[in-house]
C-alpha cells in the first residue's frame, strides 16, 4: 500500500450541514462523541497501510488545519522522512461564485501529484462514516486491471436517504455496465460511493483533459461522461456506512451509534478509529445522575438526566436538567432544570436554568456554536 496515495477531497458542495458548517468545513464537523468526520476516512487509510495522505481543502479550512496539526494522531507526521500528511489549499483564491468544480483545485496542485512517487491514488470524500479495509479494493483493482474501481453499497437505506445519489449496474465480474447520469435512471439498489482507485497517471490525464474543456467536476465531467472509454469496476463496501450530507443524516447516524452493535462495528473493525486526543479526565457521574442508552466522551460532569443521546467531551449537565434524543457538542453547559429534546447543540452552547430547547424527531433543532439560551 506504500505506492497508493490517499486523497481526501474536502469539497465545497458538502458544506450543507446548516449551522454545523457555518464556520467549519464538513471534514471537521464533530461526530460520535470523540471524533471529527474526517477521522473515519483517515483512519481507514492508515489502518490499510497508506502512508501518504493528501487533504485537498477549499475554504473554511482553519478548524481543519488546526485539528489535523502535524498528522501525528493518525501516525501521519508531516515530518515523516518521505511520507505523511499534506494539506493542500487552493493556490488561487476563487470566489465561490466562480468555482466550477473540483478540477480547478486538483489542477492548481497538479505539480504535487506529478512529483509524488506513488503509482496509484485513492480518492474519497471527507463526509463518510465508515471503517474500511482499503487493501481489498486496491487488490481487486489491480487484479482486474481496471482503469478505475469504485466502492459501492447495495442498500435500501442509502437509496432512500439520498435520492440524488448515483446508482450503478454491474456485471458478474464486477465490471460496471452502466453508471447513472442525468435523467436516465439505473434500476436496482447499488449505490455508487465516492471512493475510487485509479492510477496517478490517469488522474493527471483526466485533470488536464478536463481543464482543456474548461474545468468541471472530476467525477461527473472526468469519469462519468467518459465511461464508454474507461474500464470501470466496482467493489462492495463492507461494515457500517453512512454518508453525512444533511442534518437529518447527521442526526440519524449519530443516534445509530447508541446501538452497541453499531458502536462495535464502526469503532473497532477492521481497525481502530483514531482521533486527536484531548487531555481530558474521565467523565464524572455525580450523586443523582441518571444516564441511560447514551454515548459519552471524556470529561463530562453529569448531575442530571440523560437519555438516548450523544455527549461530546466536557459537557456539563447540572442537577434536574434533562436531555433526551439529542446530540451535545463539546464544552456545552446545560444548567439546572433546562430541558433539551430532539436537538443538536453545537460546541460551547449554554442553556440557562429552566430553558427548553425542543425540536421534532424528523426535524431536530440545531443551535449554533456559543449560543446562550
Amino acid at each position: 500500500m506504500r505506492d497508493v496515495m490517499g486523497i481526501i477531497n474536502v469539497n465545497v458542495k458538502d458544506d450543507i450541514l446548516d449551522e454545523l458548517t457555518y464556520s467549519r468545513c464538513i471534514a471537521s464537523v464533530p461526530f460520535g462523541g470523540n471524533y471529527r468526520l474526517i477521522d473515519f476516512m483517515l483512519s481507514s487509510m492508515v489502518n490499510s497501510g497508506i502512508q501518504n495522505v493528501v487533504v485537498l481543502t477549499l475554504h473554511k479550512y482553519r478548524s481543519l488545519m488546526d485539528y489535523l496539526g502535524n498528522g501525528k494522531a493518525w501516525d501521519l507526521n508531516l515530518n515523516r522522512k518521505d511520507e505523511g500528511l499534506s494539506i493542500l489549499s487552493p493556490n488561487v483564491f476563487y470566489s465561490l461564485k466562480y468555482f466550477q468544480g473540483d478540477i480547478q483545485n486538483f489542477y492548481s496542485n497538479i505539480d504535487f501529484f506529478q512529483r509524488s512517487r506513488q503509482k496509484d491514488v485513492l480518492i474519497t470524500r471527507s463526509n463518510m462514516i465508515c471503517n474500511l479495509d482499503i487493501t481489498e479494493v486496491v487488490n481487486f483493482h489491480r487484479r482486474t486491471q481496471a482503469d478505475i474501481t469504485f466502492l459501492y453499497r447495495e442498500n435500501d437505506d442509502l437509496v432512500e436517504e439520498s435520492p440524488w445519489r448515483r446508482k450503478l449496474e454491474i456485471g458478474a465480474d464486477g465490471r460496471v455496465l452502466n453508471l447513472e447520469q442525468g435523467t436516465e435512471k439505473v434500476k436496482g439498489k447499488k449505490v455508487l460511493l465516492e471512493i475510487f482507485v485509479m492510477s496517478k497517471a490517469l488522474l493527471i490525464d483526466l485533470i488536464e483533459s478536463c481543464m482543456i474543456n474548461g474545468t468541471g467536476d472530476l467525477l461527473h465531467d472526468g469519469i462519468i461522461k467518459n465511461q464508454e472509454n474507461l474500464k470501470i469496476f466496482a467493489f462492495p463496501a463492507k461494515g457500517y456506512l453512512g454518508v453525512i450530507n444533511s442534518i437529518a443524516l447527521y442526526y440519524k447516524h449519530s443516534l445509530n451509534l447508541l446501538k452497541p452493535a453499531n458502536w462495535q462495528e464502526l469503532f473497532f473493525r477492521p481497525g481502530f478509529i483514531y482521533t486527536k486526543a484531548e487531555d481530558e479526565p474521565p467523565t464524572k457521574y455525580m450523586r443523582g445522575a441518571r444516564v441511560t442508552g447514551s454515548l459519552l466522551a471524556g470529561s463530562c460532569v453529569i448531575e442530571g438526566k440523560v437519555e438516548n443521546s450523544v455527549l461530546f467531551r466536557g459537557v456539563q449537565v447540572k442537577r434536574d436538567a434533562y436531555i433526551k434524543d439529542s446530540i451535545i457538542l463539546p464544552e456545552s453547559e446545560i444548567e439546572e432544570k433546562a430541558q433539551i429534546e430532539y436537538a443538536i447543540l453545537d460546541k460551547e452552547v449554554r442553556v440557562s436554568r429552566g430553558k427548553v430547547v425542543k425540536g421534532r424527531k424528523d426535524n431536530p433543532s440545531v443551535i449554533p456554536e456559543r449560543t446562550i439560551i
Binding site: 469503532f267 459519552l296 470529561s299
Partner: protein
C-alpha cells in the same frame, strides 16, 4: 554548544512498591494505573510541564521498567520531547569496572552525575514518581532563591496520629531546618517531608561525593545525605506546601486516593483547566451506558460498555459491565470484562481480568473489610464467591479458572 539549564529534575521512578502486592509484580510503582486513565507518574510529569521551569528530566528507573518505559516514550504527552533537554530514561548501567544497581535514591543520582553535568544546571530538583499531587515547582524555586538556601525540602502537614509514618522536620521561625525525626514516636510537630528536594547543584555534587565515602551509608537522601548536610550546618529550608498530596504506598491508600476523586468537590481536582494532568491517550471510542444502566458518584473512561449498576467506583478504559451487575466502592482497571448478575464491593480488579456471570467479590463485612485485589489477567469462573484475598486462589483452582 550551550546546553546550560537553570533547573534539571531527577525523577525517582525505580520504586518497587512492595506493599502494593500483585499490582507491582510486573511493573514499577510509578506505572500503576490511577484515576481512570492515568498512571501515578503522570502527576509528577504534568507538574513539570505545568510549572514551566523544568524542561529537562532524568527518569531514574530500575525495578521492572518495561511498562514505565513505554508509557514515558519520548515524553511528548508532557511536552518533554525537546531538542535540548526533554526526558531521558536513566536505568542502571555497566561501566569499565562492572556496573551496579542503584543502591539508594542518592546513589541513583550520583551514578548519573554525567547526565547532570552535561546541562550544568544551577539547581537540581529531586522528585518522585510515587506521589499524587499538583504542585507548582516554580514557587518552590522562588522560595529557595529568596531564602538563599542550599537545599529546600517541601513539607506538608499530616494528621498528628500519622506522624510516625513520616520523616518529620523541625525548623526555626524563618523556616530553617534544625532537626530531622525519622518516623518519630514523640513528634515535635506534624510537618512531614514530601520527598521533594531542591538542591544547589554544586552542593548536591559535593554531598553525594561525601556520602559515597561512607561504606555503611544506604545512599538514601532522607536517611543519609540530608542528615549529613544538617550535621555540616548547610542552609536547609522547609517549604510548606498546602494542597492534596498522597503517597500511594499500599493497596488501601491506592483505593482511598481513587475514592477521594469521587467526592462532589475533591481537593485534587482533575477537571481544573489550568493544571491539566497529561497522559498517553488510550484512543478508544466514547463510553456507552445501556438502557438499564445506573451510574452514580463514579468516573467512567473511554471505551467502557456499562449495562449494570456502578456506584462510587472508577472504571478504567475498555471495561465491560454486564446486566444486573452491581459494582460499588471499587476500582475496575483497563479491559476488565465483568459478566451479568455479578456483585463486586470494595475490590480492585486489575487489568484484563474476566469475572464470570453470577460471581460475588466482596468480603463478609461489606463496609469496612479488607479490599480484595484480583490480579491482572485473572479469570474468575461463573458463580464464584470470593470473600477474602486468601480464598481467592482456592476458588479459582477448585473451579479450574486461570490464575497465573
Amino acid at each position: 554548544m550551550n546546553r546550560k539549564k537553570e533547573c534539571v529534575a531527577m525523577l525517582l521512578a525505580g520504586g518497587e512498591g512492595k506493599r502494593l502486592g500483585f499490582l507491582t509484580r510486573e511493573t514499577a510503582k510509578p506505572a500503576i494505573p490511577f484515576g481512570g486513565k492515568y498512571r501515578i507518574i503522570d502527576f509528577t510529569l504534568s507538574n513539570c510541564t505545568n510549572s514551566g521551569i523544568v524542561d529537562t528530566v532524568g527518569a531514574l528507573t530500575q525495578y521492572k521498567p518495561l511498562i514505565l518505559n513505554s508509557h514515558i516514550g519520548n515524553g511528548s504527552p508532557w511536552d518533554l520531547d525537546r531538542k535540548k533537554g526533554g526526558i531521558s530514561l536513566l536505568p542502571p548501567f555497566v561501566r569499565g569496572k562492572g556496573g551496579k544497581w542503584y543502591k539508594g535514591t542518592a546513589d541513583a543520582v550520583f551514578q548519573n552525575m554525567n547526565f547532570l553535568e552535561q546541562y550544568n544546571p544551577r539547581y537540581v530538583l529531586i522528585i518522585s514518581g510515587d506521589h499524587i499531587y499538583k504542585m507548582d515547582y516554580s514557587l518552590l524555586l522562588d522560595y529557595h532563591k529568596s531564602k538563599e538556601a542550599e537545599v529546600t525540602i517541601a513539607v506538608i502537614e499530616v494528621p498528628w496520629e500519622e506522624t510516625s509514618r513520616f520523616g518529620i522536620l523541625n525548623m526555626a521561625e524563618d523556616g530553617r531546618i534544625t532537626e530531622f525525626q525519622e518516623k518519630p514516636k514523640n513528634p515535635k510537630n506534624n510537618l512531614a517531608s514530601m520527598g521533594i528536594y531542591l538542591f544547589d547543584f554544586d552542593i548536591l555534587k559535593k554531598y553525594l561525593q561525601k556520602d559515597q565515602k561512607y561504606p555503611k551509608s544506604s545512599n538514601d537522601f532522607g536517611k543519609d545525605v540530608l542528615p549529613l548536610m544538617l550535621k555540616n550546618k548547610c542552609r536547609m529550608f522547609a517549604y510548606p506546601f498546602r494542597g492534596y498530596w498522597k503517597d500511594v504506598g499500599t493497596i488501601e491508600s491506592l483505593w482511598e486516593t481513587n475514592m477521594d476523586l469521587l467526592q462532589d468537590k475533591p481537593t485534587l481536582d482533575l477537571y481544573e483547566r489550568n493544571w491539566r494532568i497529561y497522559t498517553v491517550s488510550s484512543n478508544q471510542p466514547p463510553h456507552y451506558l445501556g438502557p438499564a444502566a445506573k451510574v452514580e458518584q463514579s468516573m467512567v473512561s473511554d471505551g467502557c460498555l456499562v449495562f449494570g449498576e456502578v456506584n462510587r467506583s472508577v472504571l478504567f478504559p475498555g471495561v465491560y459491565v454486564g446486566e444486573n451487575t452491581i459494582i460499588r466502592d471499587s476500582l475496575i482497571m483497563s479491559n476488565v470484562k465483568i459478566g451479568s448478575n455479578v456483585k463486586i464491593i470494595r475490590a480492585i480488579i486489575a487489568e484484563n481480568s474476566i469475572v464470570g456471570n453470577g460471581s460475588q467479590i466482596c468480603c463478609q463485612d461489606n463496609e469496612a473489610g479488607e479490599i480484595i485485589l484480583i490480579k491482572e489477567n485473572s479469570t474468575i469462573p461463573d458463580n464464584s464467591i470470593i470473600n477474602s484475598t486468601d480464598n481467592l486462589k482456592k476458588v479459582i483452582f477448585e473451579s479450574g479458572g486461570k490464575f497465573t
